[in-house]
Assembly symmetry: C2
Homo-oligomer: 370 residues x 2
């Protein structure tokens, strides 16, 4: 299967082999070695000296962990949203009792740092600004560096909580240089590992907020995670196999380094965007902010996405994801993060060239004669 | 490694092989097939027609899910505790705002159903009774059938929330016959699967309570889990590999059937208890309620558990777990659930016979001459 979803992503053979290792005990020195090495590796790729924890949960669990650990009931916060996952971050914060002000941007566009600055200046002070680095639902990467700086210009010391689930480990995101207080990602994205772990980094401002938070938390209590990591453990039984897999994946990623990882994703993303345009398809994203992990493409007029989606799987062994929420049926999304090569993208584009004419789309002449 | 912990437990080869399978998409028909088969298999082993969901979390996540879905803030509840995990259940309920009355029994003994009945009659009415079926920390199995009946005699319709994390899939526990409203277990126990999934069954009374609960929940929101399972999906990206593994493990367990599984665990547990006593060691548990998944053994006078624990790993490639909380250093615990044979227990007992004399314990004559 050519799995071209923005997560879960395919895993390399040695990562899958690690998934199949026999169990060890999670309070043994053998596990302490693994979690120690994993934590160090993550710090290298996050480019941070902050604490990092691996939660046995999906990325949404990490979003909830950010809300319940760092906010208090009634806290006024600003949530910057450009799609499904920004909206989800806001919903979680509301669910747990934060007073949410939302700053929405049109889906398919990036957040304007100046608008963030104005919002914080006019509506603030806020306890925190919540923002999505890479919006998986629209294929847009926010300019996190500029947004963080803008928020801090308007209100120095405001807490920044960042959903980097589909960017960290793929897209340039130096956590300390950009002074991000709390940031999270998920194992099934650029990390080339199956889903089941969410990784979260916490800086000093974050710990201050954590100490004063009055939201209820137990499973996701990061103070407990800190106490246990000091012993090379997690508070609750962790997803051990996924630690094994992440350990192996990180050995490759650390060797490549953050700059190499970002360049590789840039190269593959450029190739994907060019390829999509060469067959006459239209990108959803404003290209200046098009994501290097996922490309959102408008479904051409007259094409039934559900038919195409099924045909790609049944006849071409290829899975591409559709749109979410209001974009369902209107876009499809090609994932190109983690364990993906130029060949995989070429194959995907070739498959699209074969399938699209079968669902009523006429390829541009240049594409058919290629 | 002879991993004789009460979880994580060793996994069969074909289960580990399934862990190493390449990713599929969690919103594809391929995943829908897996989750459908897994859910059906779980219903067979739980002996229930109730809804069952697999949460990507550890068992503690399932305890939190039970609290935040079925209780409301200020609800008066009774928590029956006989050890660490009963206490944890109470702490979680308190954390999220329930008004907890605790009914404690001495660690190493079982809860007395008559005392539960009296407590509900005298202290009630309660919204719910929370109880641990098998207390992993002391190796005691509560008489859940009698406790459930006692609670219902005192207050018909009281909600029963049961932590069966280390019993379901190992110890006789027919959910519908005993009329248990909500019950949860974890993949790394008798299920012979790595940690990362918690499985929870919910009956009609549970759904009524779920609809009226005012505790905040998002990641663990079971109404969302229900909506998505109807489509063969989970609300958030699930730990796909562990679904693959559970699917394979269930194919064995369903073939064996609940009665066969319970008998197998009874046989191995009897052998463990007899073996431990034959080398002169003392069981913590009142034998009438000794668990068929984990045997708690008193550390003999003069023996330093930490030294023995390390020696067993370093020199005998065997891991046995120590005590938790106030029992740390005072007991050790031999797990015998899931993928375990008589040979594994014989090996464990032989290792103890070799190691114990090296840490100052004198074996009884009968044991040395054997």
């Amino acid at each position: 299967m050519n799995l071209r979803s923005p997560g879960p992503t395919p895993c390399p053979d040695d990562v899958l082999e690690a998934m199949g290792r026999q169990m060890i005990h999670h309070r043994s020195s053998a596990f302490a070695e693994v979690i120690g090495r994993v934590t160090d590796g993550l710090k290298t790729i996050f480019e941070t000296k902050n604490d990092i924890f691996c939660l046995s949960a999906s990325g949404t669990g990490a979003l909830e962990a950010m809300v319940v650990n760092f906010l208090s009931r009634g806290d006024r916060i600003l949530v910057v949203s450009i799609g499904v996952f920004g909206d989800r971050f806001a919903t979680i914060a509301e669910t747990f009792g934060a007073a949410v002000t939302k700053l929405d941007f049109e889906w398919g566009t990036a957040a304007d740092p100046r608008a963030v600055e104005d919002s914080v200046r006019e509506g603030g002070p806020y306890k925190a600004v919540l923002v999505t680095h890479n919006e998986t639902s629209t294929g847009i990467t926010n300019d996190l560096e500029a947004i963080a700086a803008a928020a801090r210009r308007a209100q120095p010391g405001v807490l920044l909580l960042v959903d980097a689930i589909s960017s960290l480990g793929s897209i340039h995101c130096p956590v300390d240089e950009w002074d991000i207080d709390v940031i999270a990602t998920g194992s099934q994205k650029g990390w080339m590992v199956p889903p089941g772990l969410a990784m979260i980094a916490i800086g000093e401002r974050g710990w201050h907020a954590q100490a004063e938070s009055d939201m209820p938390s137990f499973y996701f209590d990061l103070a407990k995670a800190k106490d246990f990591l000091a012993k090379g453990q997690t508070p609750w039984t962790p997803a051990i196999s996924i630690f094994f897999a992440l350990d192996v994946a990180l050995s490759h990623l650390v060797k490549e380094g953050p700059a190499g990882i970002a360049e590789r994703h840039q190269r593959i993303a450029d190739m994907t965007r060019e390829g999509v345009k060469s067959i006459g398809l239209e990108l959803l994203a404003d290209e200046q902010h098009a994501s290097n992990t996922v490309t959102a493409v408008r479904v051409p007029d007259g094409v039934d996405w559900k038919v195409l989606y099924q045909m790609l799987q049944d006849d071409y062994d290829t899975l591409i994801e559709g749109g979410q929420g209001p974009l369902a049926g209107k876009i499809f999304r090609i994932g190109h993060l983690g364990f993906v090569t130029e060949d995989d993208i070429t194959k995907t584009l070739d498959v699209l060239k074969q399938a699209l004419p079968r669902v009523g789309y006429q390829l541009p002449e240049a594409a058919t004669t290629r």
